[in-house]
C-alpha cells in the first residue's frame, strides 16, 4: 500500500518507544508484503509472456541470418506478407470510417433499441474466429444465401480475397467503436456548439473540432484493430481454401509451414510478425497513454 503506515490508536502509558517499534514493524511488514507481491507479479509475467517472446527470438535466429534471407526470398512468403498487409489496410479503413459513424450515433443519438446496437457491437468479441468463418460459409459458400447472387455475376467471394476481407472486418469491428464512444461521451457537445455559433458548418466542425478531440482514442482503436487484423487466422483459414500464393496470409503460411515440417521458415515468419506487433504495441501504448492523460 502506498499510504504511509498509520499509527494504532492506543492510548498507551508505555510511551513513544512502543509505538515506534510497532510502527517500524508494521512498515517492515508492509514493505515485505509489497516486495513479495511485486516479485510474484514479475515472475508470472516473465514466465508467461516474456519467456516465450525471448524463445522465439532465440529460436528463429538460431538458424542464422542466411536462412532468414532465404525465407524472404521465397515468393510465397513475400506474397503472404503482402496479402496480410492488404487485408489489414482495407479492414482498418472500413472499420475506422464506419466505426466513427457508429460511435457518433451511440454516443450522441437517442432511439429505442440503442442498447441492442451497443450489444451488437460487442458481439464479435465473443465469437470464436472459427465460427466467423462458418458464418461466411453459410452466407457465401456453396448453397449459401448470397452465393447465387454473386455467382451469377461472376464474382467470387468464398475462397478468395473478398471473403477473407469480410471476415477480418467482422472481427475488427468493435475496437474503434469501443475506444471512441467513451471519449465522445466525456467531451460532450459544447465545443461543437461553440464552433457552430462561430459560423463553422457541420463538416468543418467535425474535422476541426470533433476529430481533433477524439484523435488519441481513435488512434488507439485503430492500432488495436490493425493488430487484430494482422493476427487473424481461424476465420481466414476456413474461408480462404489456402491456395498457396493466392489466398495465403502470413498467419496461414505459418500454419502450413508447421504442418509440412518446414518449422524453420514458420519460425522466421512468426518472428517477423512478432517484431511488427512489438512496433504496433509501442504505438498502442503511446496512444493509450495520451488518451488517458487527456481524460483527466
Amino acid at each position: 500500500m502506498s499510504a504511509p503506515p498509520t499509527e494504532r490508536v492506543k492510548p498507551s502509558p508505555a510511551g513513544d518507544e512502543d509505538l515506534t517499534r510497532l510502527r517500524n514493524a508494521d512498515a517492515r511488514r508492509g514493505r515485505l508484503v509489497r516486495g513479495v507481491m511485486l516479485a510474484v507479479a514479475l515472475v508470472y509475467v516473465s514466465v508467461l509472456l516474456l519467456a516465450p517472446l525471448a524463445g522465439i527470438f532465440i529460436y528463429a535466429l538460431k538458424s542464422g541470418l542466411g536462412t532468414i534471407g532465404q525465407t524472404f526470398s521465397q515468393p510465397d512468403v513475400r506474397h503472404a506478407f503482402l496479402l496480410t498487409f492488404v487485408i489489414m489496410a482495407i479492414t482498418v479503413v472500413v472499420t475506422t470510417f464506419f466505426g466513427v459513424i457508429v460511435a457518433l450515433v451511440l454516443a450522441r443519438d437517442r432511439f429505442p433499441g440503442k442498447r441492442l446496437v451497443s450489444a451488437l457491437v460487442d458481439l464479435p468479441l465473443a465469437v470464436s474466429p472459427v465460427v466467423v468463418g462458418l458464418m461466411a460459409v453459410l452466407l457465401f459458400g456453396r448453397g449459401g444465401w448470397f452465393e447465387p447472387f454473386f455467382a451469377s455475376r461472376g464474382i467470387q467471394i468464398m475462397f478468395a480475397l473478398p471473403a477473407m476481407i469480410l471476415v477480418t472486418i467482422f472481427i475488427s469491428i468493435p475496437f474503434v467503436i469501443r475506444e471512441v464512444v467513451p471519449v465522445l461521451q466525456e467531451l460532450g457537445m459544447e465545443e461543437e456548439q461553440a464552433a457552430w455559433t462561430l459560423g463553422a458548418s457541420r463538416l468543418q466542425t467535425f474535422i476541426r473540432v470533433t476529430l481533433r478531440n477524439i484523435r488519441w482514442g481513435l488512434l488507439y482503436g485503430i492500432a488495436l484493430s490493425a493488430a487484430r487484423a494482422i493476427g487473424e487466422v481461424g476465420a481466414v483459414l476456413i474461408v480462404s481454401g489456402t491456395l498457396t500464393g493466392k489466398t495465403e496470409t502470413a498467419t496461414l503460411y505459418i500454419l502450413r509451414a508447421f504442418d509440412q515440417y518446414q518449422d524453420q521458415q514458420g519460425y522466421i515468419v512468426a518472428l517477423t510478425l512478432a517484431t511488427f506487433s512489438i512496433v504496433l504495441l509501442i504505438g498502442i501504448e503511446t496512444f493509450k497513454r495520451r488518451r488517458t492523460a487527456e481524460a483527466d
Binding site: E190, A194, R212
Partner: protein, 352 residues
C-alpha cells in the same frame, strides 16, 4: 432597429415539460438585457433558441430586423459565451480566438490584426500561445469572450458566463464586462440567476420563473416596484408576512400596514418588506419587536427581530440609528414600502 433582439411568444416543451412558455421581450440595440431567474426557469433554453442551438415549438425571433426563427446557427452570426467556456482544448488561445475568422475565410493579415486587437482588449495578449488547460477559469472566460466577439457578431449572448467562477473572480469580471460593453456597445443578452449581477450590469431585466416572464423593466423598476410576488421575493431580499386585507390595509396580527388598497377586502394577502425598509422608529412605530441578534455589516447592522406573535424579521439598519440598542432590547420599528399581493398568487420565495 439595428442590432436589437425581439422575441415574441417563444415556446418550447421537452416531452411533457414546458420549459419556455410564451415568452416575449425586446432587448434593445446596444444595451445589456438580463434574463434573470432561478434554475429551471427556462432562461437558458430561451437563450439557446435565440442562438439557434434549440428549435422553438412556436414563436418568433427577430435579430437586427430579420426573422431568424428558422435559420441555422451558423447563419445567425451571434456571439455565444458558454458557462463552461467551451474553448477548443486542442487549440491555442490565438487559434481559438481566430476560429470564427478562419471559418469565414478572412484574409490572414486582417485575421491576425483582429486577433491581436481582441487579445489586447481582454488583456490576454501574453497568453496567446497557451492552451486552455493552462489557464484559470477567469482567463478562459475572457478568451471565450474574445473568441465570440472576433467575427463581429450583431448580438452577444452570454449563458451564465460567471457561474463557474469564484466569487472574487466573478465580481472582477462583472465589472470588466461592464466596461467592455461601454466600449464596444454590442447588444448583449445575459442569462443569470444572480440578481446582484443583473441589477448591476443590465439596462433592462426580464425576470423569468417556470418558463414564463414575470416582469420586464429597468433594475430600479424590478427592485422597487415588483409586480408579482415572485419578483418581490426573488429580486433583492425581502421579509415575507402573511395577513388579511381590511379596508385597504393588510392586517398582520398585532399591527397593520398600508398599501393594500388595490386588493379585495377580506382576502388573504402577503406583504413583502425589504430589510432596508425596516427602520428604528422615533416613537411607537408600526410594531414592537425584540432584538434577537445583531451582526455588523460594516456601516450597516443586520438586526434579527422577533415580533410578539413569533414572526421573525431581518432589518438592515444604519449603525447610527440603533442608538446603542443591544440584543434583548425591545424597540419600535417602522415597516416602509410594503408590497402586498393576494395570497393566491403568492409563491414562497426565500425569506430575507
Amino acid at each position: 432597429m439595428a442590432g436589437s433582439i425581439e422575441i415574441e411568444g417563444l415556446t418550447k416543451s421537452f416531452g411533457g415539460f414546458r420549459a419556455v412558455d410564451d415568452v416575449s421581450f425586446v432587448a434593445e440595440d446596444g444595451k445589456i438585457t438580463a434574463l434573470l431567474g432561478p434554475s429551471g426557469s427556462g432562461k437558458s433554453t430561451a437563450l439557446r433558441m435565440i442562438a439557434g442551438l434549440e428549435r422553438p415549438d412556436s414563436g418568433r425571433i427577430t435579430i437586427a430586423g430579420e426573422d431568424q426563427t428558422r435559420t441555422s446557427v451558423q447563419e445567425r452570426r451571434v456571439g455565444f459565451v458558454f458557462q463552461h467556456y467551451a474553448l477548443f482544448r486542442h487549440m491555442t488561445v490565438q487559434q481559438n480566438v481566430e476560429f470564427g475568422l478562419r471559418v469565414r475565410k478572412e484574409d490572414p493579415a486582417k485575421r491576425r490584426a483582429r486577433v491581436l486587437e481582441l487579445l489586447d482588449l481582454v488583456h490576454m495578449t501574453p497568453f496567446a500561445e497557451r492552451y486552455p488547460g493552462q489557464l484559470s477559469g477567469g482567463q478562459r472566460q475572457r478568451v471565450a469572450l474574445a473568441r465570440a466577439l472576433a467575427p463581429q457578431p450583431k448580438v452577444l449572448l452570454l449563458d451564465e458566463p460567471f457561474g463557474a467562477l469564484d466569487a472574487k473572480v466573478r465580481h472582477d469580471l462583472r465589472r470588466w464586462l461592464d466596461e467592455l460593453h461601454r466600449e464596444l456597445g454590442v447588444t448583449s443578452l445575459l442569462v443569470t440567476h444572480d440578481q446582484e449581477e443583473a441589477l448591476e450590469l443590465a439596462n433592462k431585466i426580464v425576470v423569468m420563473h417556470e418558463g414564463r416572464v414575470e416582469q420586464v423593466g429597468s433594475p430600479g423598476d424590478v427592485y422597487d416596484n415588483p409586480t408579482t410576488p415572485f419578483v418581490a421575493g426573488f429580486v433583492g431580499s425581502a421579509n415575507v408576512l402573511h395577513g388579511s386585507v381590511v379596508d385597504g390595509h393588510i392586517h398582520l396580527g398585532s399591527f397593520r400596514l398600508p398599501g393594500a388598497s388595490h386588493l379585495q377586502d377580506g382576502a388573504s394577502a402577503t406583504a413583502f418588506v425589504r430589510p432596508h425598509d425596516i427602520r428604528v422608529a422615533g416613537g411607537e412605530g408600526d410594531v414592537k419587536a425584540v432584538i434577537e441578534r445583531l451582526a455588523s455589516l460594516g456601516w450597516l447592522t443586520r438586526v434579527t427581530l422577533r415580533l410578539d406573535d413569533g414572526e421573525a424579521l431581518v432589518a438592515h439598519v444604519p449603525n447610527e440609528e440603533l442608538h446603542g440598542a443591544v440584543e434583548g432590547d425591545r424597540i419600535g420599528v417602522d415597516l416602509r414600502n410594503p408590497k402586498a399581493f393576494l395570497k393566491s398568487e403568492s409563491e414562497q420565495p426565500t425569506d430575507a
